[in-house]
Amino acid sequence: MEELLGKDILELGNLLAKKEITSVELTKCYLERIKRHDGALQSYLRVTEDLAINMAQEADKKIAKGEGSLLTGIPLGIKDILCTRDMETTCASQILRGFIAPYDATVIQRMKQSGFIHLGRLNMDEFAMGSSTENSSFQVTKNPWDLSRIPGGSSGGSAAAVAAGLCVAALGTDTGGSIRQPASLCGTVGLKPTYGRVSRYGLVAFASSLDQIGPITRSVKDAAALLQVIAGRDGMDSTSIPQPVPDYLSYIGRDVGGLRIGIPQEYFIEGMEPDVRKAVEDAIKVFERNGTAVVPISLPHTDYAVATYYVICTAEASSNLARYDGVKYGFRAPGKDIIEMYKKTRSAGFGKEVKRRIILGTYVLSSGYYDAYYRKAGQVRTLIKRDFDRAFEQCDLVLTPVSPTTAFRIGEKVEDPLTMYLSDIFTIPVNLAGLPGLSVPCGFDHTGLPIGLQIIGKPLDEPLILQAAHVFETEMRLKKIPDRFA
């Protein structure tokens, strides 16, 4: 089994095609690992064992007939925010407990067509609101590299499960860093595609102008493989981009000689841990050794990004979450009239971070404050986007840290929301500008906690990001799975 853990999706596909293993065997290996390790890790909310075995049997039939494709027979974990037909989807919230989605999200539908194995539903911050997965209503997921620490968030269950080898790869979602930050803190690869590259149909909405679905994987190649399956225009999401989907895997293995790498001075701030700074500076040297030019650039409005983001995302969230009213699905608390029923349902069903954001979002949209907050934030968003437009006139990719710190301790920031919000300072601008960004492991701090490097590209430049990340990953050869889980 241990040698299977080191195999990427394409290698596993080869073993399956050559009948050296079956999907049922591979799936049982992963189910066994989940049983052995997830009691300590708490990454899965629900394991769909029977379904996984059924899907694996179907996959083996498909493979026997020579009809296998990229994900056929590959066991994956799914963040519990992606609607999956006839299955509970909770967003780690009490208010959606028992909700059985009547349809598949487009990404799930595409992965089913490709023959993937659904291992289970991964934990997250409630409605994807948080940076530590501590806002889950159900359980606290641990960081596989140090069980006293958070895995990051909001896709913390996905990143932890991938890092601990409890699935081959997983899907996460990213509104302000929720794929890249946990990927970084857990030592995995995480890709947030260009806004619109992947359909959001069936993704439970948090902030619709920022949300994107993307892969969390143990290798850059696997991120390319998963993106290949889920990307593309979808008639069910009018914000999805019509441009054709490139052959991402064909960019894996190309060199980076002659590329220009931009380094924004504003991202090397006070408060960044010295080990993080050192690891990112060393990473830049690796790119230089591989023939890239390093260009100092400026993104002058970086310091305004967190404030801008929390106006926009809370405003959109307060509107999106109005649908949880105890009428159509999920939990209902009794009330003597409809307003009382709404209030009691929402107050009992939502956790404290979700309520905080609904209140903040309602405030910034309320009469008399709309121009001062929401309109203003939209204007600053334009300035942040222009910063990137100008930077990309001088460089092809931008390199930054993913997070100013490595994984913090469980409980450390729960009572201080503003400090928690500031931990996403390097990932948020990418969402505001709609750009693709990837986190790739670039080292460990002195206590052995992983550090991530962020590679940001122009809109739709995922191929170049994957190409550069693969060159870097190949050179670094970092340890992927912590000893405890190896």
């Binding site: 102008s209 404030a307 699905y329 009382e340 203003k376």
Partner: protein
């Protein structure tokens, strides 16, 4: 202080939330700190700048007005906490004398 307890209570009502006194206390001080931090946006001159609502502009998305498969009534009301036949059931909305 930018926000008071009264403001929090009013906004909570707009958002259809009922808060207990402890929550009102906590959210008042937390939101005050967050809004004060957001005030840094006011130090930027944004006159004449168009707000961005979507980062990747994608306008006039059309499709043919074809009839496609829709959700069945059962799929649509199947998750309702309370239903009567094919309807969602809710508490009284209009008071009856």
């Amino acid at each position: 202080m930018k926000v008071t307890r009264d403001v929090i209570e009013y906004v909570a009502h707009l958002g259809r939330l009922e808060l207990d006194p402890d929550e009102i206390e906590r959210y008042t001080s937390q939101l005050d700190a967050i809004l004060e931090y957001m005030d840094k946006l006011n130090s930027l001159d944004t006159s004449g700048i168009e707000p961005t609502t979507h980062a990747i502009p994608n306008v006039n998305v059309f499709r043919e007005d074809d009839v496609t498969e829709a959700f069945s009534v059962e799929a649509s009301v199947g998750n309702a906490p309370e239903r009567k036949g094919s309807f969602f059931k809710v508490p009284p909305i209009i008071e009856v004398e």
